[in-house]
């Protein structure tokens, strides 16, 4: 799983039916020092996260489909937790 920060969200009315009702969040992944490492991705939300939150991203299709219980959803990234603190 990846550490990431939510920077915004995507509004998409035209999308595959399995995404109906899903919140699409734009996240930037972080490196081990907590700074953005330059890559961004779009994730479905399962943790009620908002802009600016430090979150945990599940980034594998099969696991996302299992968590979402949607066997046919082409989801590759899912926000599964809001991180309070990282101790290194």
């Amino acid at each position: 799983m990846l550490m990431a920060r939510i920077t915004g969200h995507m509004v998409a009315t035209v999308k595959l039916p399995c995404f109906a009702g899903e919140k699409l969040l734009v996240v930037e992944t972080l490196d081990q020092t907590g700074r953005p490492d330059g890559s961004e991705l779009v994730a479905c939300d399962r943790a009620g996260a908002g802009v600016g939150d430090l979150v945990l991203i599940l980034q594998e299709g099969g696991s996302c489909r299992a968590v979402m219980e949607k066997a046919e959803a082409p989801v590759e990234a899912l926000v599964v937790a809001v991180i309070d603190r990282i101790n290194l």
Binding site: R5, T7, A12, L16, T33, G34, E76, D84, N87
Partner: protein, 101 residues
Amino acid sequence: MMAGRVIGVCVATQKDPRLAGRKLLVVEPIRSNGTAAGKPAIAVDLVGAGAGETVLLAKSRDASLAAADAPIDLAIIGIADALVTPPHRPMDPAERGFRSC
């Protein structure tokens, strides 16, 4: 999944039969501020996207799953009306226990 922008169309008459009837669009991965985030690639359109539109892309196994196991590795699965990135206070990593290494 990632955001992308449709920059062109690809026409291929001789192809795998399972690609028949599929619209092939040239897409470029982008960041939320609109800058390019990777090399352009060819994606199968599943939602009727047009040139210049911002789209949602799925890659690898998820792309072929969305297109009934067609032989593809990039698919357009949504059309973005807006990519909203409101200004927010940059996070101070030290506040959250990250050590600068």
